[in-house]
């Protein structure tokens, strides 16, 4: 299926947060100033009960995007049709602005390791993933976003860099990208590359969303834990990203050690402030 040309300017939602059950009541009762929310799709791929009850109510008040962890786009197993069917049904229910998942594999031989495992950046993988992204996009009837994952190992059989691989996937599969700025930082530390080289290789028009998150630094390596505030160096990298990519929907992704909502809102305010200073310096100064 051929998708319409990429819209220019890109679809923009503003500044959002990941929707977490612990914040359901606060969001409904206090209607915080959030532009949009990202849900973990799998949390709502259940038959009924509380998760869907809250989802529907919160969706009435906020734009949403769906972010999955089970697509396993790079696995050598066949695509999971049941999963895709459920995902499409959830999309019909909440009409998300877009649907994303990760550029990784999560299991093989029928097993799900429930982890975002790194791919070898080879021509073979590239062809395999491109074909699958196209299948998924045809099935869902829309472009998907793929997110770069943090990684801790590399494969000698890789034939290109991660950024070359990401760029090729996006261009050849005609999909969009969710750039996780923290993941780029983590991987650049773990694999000793320059994060700016990465950013500069990514086609501007393909980037639809940014993730910002925290991590744990163990000295010789960093683990992408999403359980801490965003660190200064990641904010710096975010600035560089905003300069390159312009106005991109941005969110803070906290998955563990979840603080009260105001804490995340003030972190999000920092992102808004940084972007505003770069994109509209005159307005900010006034």
């Amino acid at each position: 299926m051929k998708h319409p040309p990429l819209p220019s300017p890109r679809h923009y939602l503003g500044f959002g947060l990941g929707l977490r059950p612990t914040h359901y009541e606060t969001i409904l009762n206090e209607a915080p100033a959030l532009d949009w929310l990202e849900i973990i799709s799998e949390n709502y791929l259940v038959p009924g009960g509380k998760p869907l009850h809250y989802l529907d109510r919160i969706r009435q008040r906020y734009p949403m995007v769906m972010h999955g962890v089970s697509l396993s786009i790079g696995s050598s197993d066949a695509l999971n049709r049941e999963y895709l069917k459920d995902l499409k049904a959830l999309a019909a229910r909440i009409e998300p602005a877009w649907i994303s998942d990760h550029l990784c594999w999560t299991g093989v031989n029928g097993v799900n390791a429930h982890d975002l495992l790194p791919l070898a950046y080879t021509q073979e993988t590239l062809q395999h993933v491109v074909a699958r992204v196209q299948q998924v996009q045809d099935f869902l009837g829309r472009r998907i976003l793929l997110e770069n994952v943090s990684s801790y190992i590399s494969y000698p059989e890789s034939e290109m860099t991660e950024w070359e691989f990401v760029r090729e996937i996006a261009e050849r599969a005609d999909c969009l990208l969710l750039l996780d700025i923290n993941n780029i930082y983590v991987s650049s530390f773990n694999h000793e590359f320059n994060a700016c080289t990465y950013l500069n290789a990514i086609p501007v028009e393909r980037v639809q969303q940014f993730h910002l998150a925290g991590h744990r630094n163990h000295g010789n390596y960093i683990i992408d834990t999403h359980d801490e505030p965003v660190i200064e160096s990641v904010w710096d990298l975010y600035q560089i990203a905003v300069r390159r990519f312009g106005r991109v929907s941005t969110m803070i992704e906290r998955d563990d050690n979840i603080p009260p909502l105001p804490e995340l809102l003030s972190e999000l305010e920092q992102a808004r402030h940084i972007a505003q200073n770069i994109l509209h310096p005159a307005v900010s100064a006034a």
Partner: protein
């Protein structure tokens, strides 16, 4: 796709079984060795699945204590690698595992606790549906009562337990909720009703630790328990033997057949009002989705 498949199979064999073949196909740096790097994946795989079990079996976790629950989880992870796209269903076989595995099967209390917690998790996100009200039943003509057939709410489950697991669950769950409130919202990110952080560090609760947690006791006769969800809240209650029979039979027998079956416990002249009493309770509890009578 041969290389891709063999690389992923090697990686996964390492995750699941510690297979060393992957070491030939990945690299580290001077800063962090290959072993250190692979260990991140090895540990993350297990931690995530242990967390998933904890979120579905928080009271079992609290009862066993961190160390024993972790051992159980690790053994279970090895025996039943996840095959569903959602981690939500990973604990599906835990009760069965506890009932059959040599380390745990002589403590059937544990398997019964897992059965109860899994049933609660199933009730939590079972399909939604409207339920009947007492007024709806008033509109059914008395002459049609014998033909009434019942559809139960999808969350309704019946368990037969030998141990006093539900009151113990209730007491420990209360402690966990109190601890959760004290911890503000940090740590609780999961979406199940029983998903609360365990306050126990290292030690299990043991019967003597908490005064109001009943001691486990084995009853002489198996006891039936009803688990269901009403208005987004999970409930359970014990059922007398005749009501347990009637509710189980209500899935595929009409009211007349229920009355006939209940004659095993009730005099024939009292059986219809007795069964009607059950029905009234079931409707009040929100167990009845639909009644057909034609």
């Amino acid at each position: 796709m041969d290389r891709l498949h063999s690389l992923q199979s090697d990686f996964q064999s390492f995750l699941l079984e510690g297979d060393a073949r992957i070491q030939q196909r990945v690299t580290g740096t001077e800063k962090a060795s290959l072993q250190v790097r692979l260990a991140i994946y090895h540990d993350a795989y297990r931690l995530r699945l242990i967390e998933a079990l904890d979120s579905n079996f928080p009271v079992l976790h609290a009862w066993m204590g961190d160390a024993e629950f972790e051992n159980l989880s690790l053994a279970y992870i090895k025996e039943y690698p996840s095959t569903h796209f959602s981690i939500r269903y990973f604990g599906h076989h835990l009760a069965e595992y506890l009932a059959t595995n040599a380390t745990y099967r002589d403590r059937p209390f544990l398997s019964e606790m897992a059965q109860l917690e899994w049933a609660l998790s199933q009730a939590f996100d079972a399909p939604d549906s409207a339920v009947m009200a007492l007024d709806d039943v008033a509109n059914i003509p008395p002459s049609a009562w014998p033909q009434m057939r019942f559809s139960l709410h999808a969350s309704v489950q019946l368990l037969t337990l030998q141990w006093n697991v539900p009151p113990i669950w209730k007491a420990i769950n209360q402690h966990l909720h109190t601890a959760e409130k004290q911890n503000s919202c940090r740590g609780d990110t999961s979406s199940t009703p029983s998903s609360v952080p365990s306050p126990s560090q290292g030690e299990g609760w043991g019967e003597e630790d908490i005064n109001d947690v009943p001691a486990p006791t084995l009853s002489e006769y198996p006891q039936s328990w009803l688990i269901w969800r009403q208005d987004l809240k999970n409930y359970f209650r014990s059922l007398p033997v005749d009501e347990a029979w009637a509710l189980a039979a209500a899935r595929d027998h009409n009211f007349a057949e229920l009355c006939e079956g209940l004659c095993e416990w009730i005099d024939a002249q009292n059986v219809a009002p007795h069964a009607a009493g059950f029905l009234k309770q079931w409707i009040t509890d929100g167990l009845i989705r639909k009644i057909d009578w034609s």
